[in-house]
């Protein structure tokens, strides 16, 4: 049995009394310990899919199960990193993490929670910023804290919604490598679902890439990424088959956009 099973999922959203189909007939299995990216152009419903996994949104049809049990809401088995506002602005970096830890590990004393927080801040390279508030940190640092919080909560599953989408190109590369290092370094690898619109990011990070087409979102193709780990940006680009895979994804992404040209709406 796969860790996450999505069967014939349909999702709708209502805007000014009109119903739109965001996702239609999406079926997908995600195995334990697998790093899966969901890629597609803006408005393809990839964030809707993730919010259903988060338990913030609910399916209009089909089923989504984790360990065989349907999702009934948000849960402490899933850690989440959003693009913005994962952190609480009134808590400093350490308190943000300690607050997350407190929700999943009730028995810990305050001092022990701080120790966990500080250890994870060290792992993301922010030892000197434990007492800084989010507004005193750069966008990249804020995402490091958010990732540290998700890891510190030690959930089975990590759900990440374009976490590096607002970070400049150079720092994004650094963050991707950090994320892989942390994920690889865990005793038991977490199951990760990572939403992005960046092809290179998806290839670099994932075991499997799921491509979604535009409105309504359906799975166009599932691609296994064959490259060996640990991965390195400079090496990966020189690996045989990298550009072939990249070009294939490019054309798939554009053709799924092209389908809609001539229709009522094109969102890229």
């Amino acid at each position: 049995m796969a860790k996450i099973e999505i069967k014939n999922l349909r999702a709708e959203y209502v805007e000014k009394l009109d119903r739109f189909v965001a996702l239609d007939d999406v079926s997908l299995d995600i195995n334990e310990g697998e790093f899966v990216s969901i890629i597609g152009s803006s408005g393809c419903g990839k964030s809707t899919l993730l919010s259903i996994l988060q338990g913030l949104n609910f399916p209009a049809g089909g089923s989504v199960t984790i360990d065989g049990k349907p999702i009934t809401g948000t849960g402490r088995d899933r850690g989440v990193v959003f693009q913005h506002y994962s952190l609480f602005p009134w808590m400093n970096a350490r308190n943000n993490i300690a607050f997350g830890v407190k929700q999943v590990r009730r028995g810990l004393k305050r001092r022990e929670r701080y120790e966990v927080a500080d250890a994870f801040l060290e792992r993301v390279g922010l030892s000197e910023f434990t007492r800084k508030y989010p507004h005193q940190l750069s966008g990249g640092m804020q995402q490091r804290v958010a990732i540290a919080r998700a890891l510190a909560m030690d959930t089975d599953i990590l759900l990440m919604d374009e976490p590096f989408g607002a970070i400049d190109a150079k720092n994004r590369t650094i963050m991707q490598e950090l994320l892989l290092k942390l994920w690889d370094g865990e005793e038991r690898r977490k199951t990760v679902v990572f939403v992005t619109h960046d092809i290179d990011e998806a290839i670099f990070l994932s075991d499997k890439i799921v491509m979604l087409s535009n409105s309504p979102g359906t799975v166009v193709k599932e691609i296994d990424v064959p490259f060996a780990r640990p991965r390195d940006h400079a090496e990966l680009v020189q690996t045989e088959g990298y550009f072939k895979l990249r070009n294939e994804m490019m054309s798939l992404l554009f053709s799924s956009v092209g389908d809609r040209i001539g229709g009522t709406e094109v969102v890229i």
Partner: protein
């Protein structure tokens, strides 16, 4: 040299002008002029200003200090000229500043006792209002349906001046004192409730989503997430409530009170002693300014996480 030029300011010139007013002979007044008290007060202000001018490097703070104190000197000059020196104003209602300062100095003990009494009154009503309004506002704002109805009702009730309720308070509450506390309570309650409710409704959905994904319980959600997120908005109501409380202090202390700054002013105004009444008014002004100052420090500390 630069320091010397710093001293050549309008404020300092006004200070010297104020001291020189001594040279103009007084008109005969029924109340005594007590110009020496004006002089003491001016010298104290000047000392503070000089200390600030010569020590602080922050231009903005220095300018605010010198400007405010300069304005006070100008005001004292004009006041002295219009009363003791040229008798432009009715002397029964407008005593010269020296007389008012003298009254403050003579009455200092009484004043402190009255300030204490007033602050206890304001404090009781205000704290009671916050303790009830903030949790209630959180609850009402969080339950959207009840909240929107409560929003309209509280807007209607907030538009009624708490003074209107005074007769009811007197009938319903056991003591005059508790009726006064009730006025203070009403003054702070509605603005705090309204701002808490709107603060809760204004909390970013993304913050709430983030909290939900951490799996927080109801209590934690309300008091560790929604409350701090709404706090900047809540403070707007608390500030408003505090100033309305002080404005209504005089009315609240008209209810059978035998102490308090409002009572002090009322009492002397009723007996036509405007020197004492004005002294009381100034002391109220000073006390309110000091309290607002500390309240702002508290607010800045609690909201230090805001950019």
């Amino acid at each position: 040299m630069a320091r010397l030029r710093r001293l050549l300011t309008v404020s300092n010139l006004l200070f010297i002008a104020l001291l020189l007013l001594r040279l103009i002979p007084d008109r005969a007044l029924r109340v005594q002029d007590h110009f020496e008290y004006t002089t003491y007060f001016a010298i104290a202000l000047e000392a503070v200003m000089l200390a600030v001018t010569l020590t602080t490097k922050n231009d903005r703070i220095r300018h605010v200090f010198t400007d405010v104190i300069g304005f006070l000197f100008a005001f004292l000059c004009a006041w002295t000229l219009a009363t003791a020196k040229f008798k432009v104003l009715n002397e029964a209602v407008f005593p010269p500043p020296g007389a008012v300062f003298q009254a403050m100095a003579v009455d200092v003990k009484v004043m402190f006792a009255n300030i204490g009494s007033s602050l206890v009154l304001v404090f009781r009503g205000y704290v009671l209002a916050l303790v009830i309004a903030i949790p209630l506002g959180l609850f009402l704002g969080w339950n959207v349906r009840v909240g929107s109805a409560a929003g309209y009702i509280s807007k209607f009730l907030a538009s009624i001046s708490p003074i209107v309720y005074i007769p009811y308070f007197i009938v319903l509450l056991p003591t005059f004192r508790s009726a006064s506390v009730a006025v203070m309570f009403m003054a702070a309650f509605w603005p705090t409730l309204a701002s808490t409710m709107s603060g809760v409704l204004g909390v970013e959905k993304r913050i709430l989503d983030s909290a939900k994904t951490l799996g927080v319980g109801h209590g934690t959600m309300l008091f560790r997430v929604v409350l701090p997120a709404a706090l900047p908005q809540i403070f707007i109501g608390c500030n408003q409530g505090l100033s309305v409380s002080f404005i209504l202090l005089t009315s609240a202390e008209m209810i059978g009170a035998r102490s308090g700054m409002g009572y002090y002013v009322n009492n002397y105004a009723n007996f036509g002693n405007y020197t004492r009444a004005l002294a009381g008014v100034f002391v109220i002004g000073i006390v309110v300014t000091v309290i607002t100052f500390f309240f702002n420090i508290l607010q800045r500390w609690l909201l230090r996480w805001k950019r």
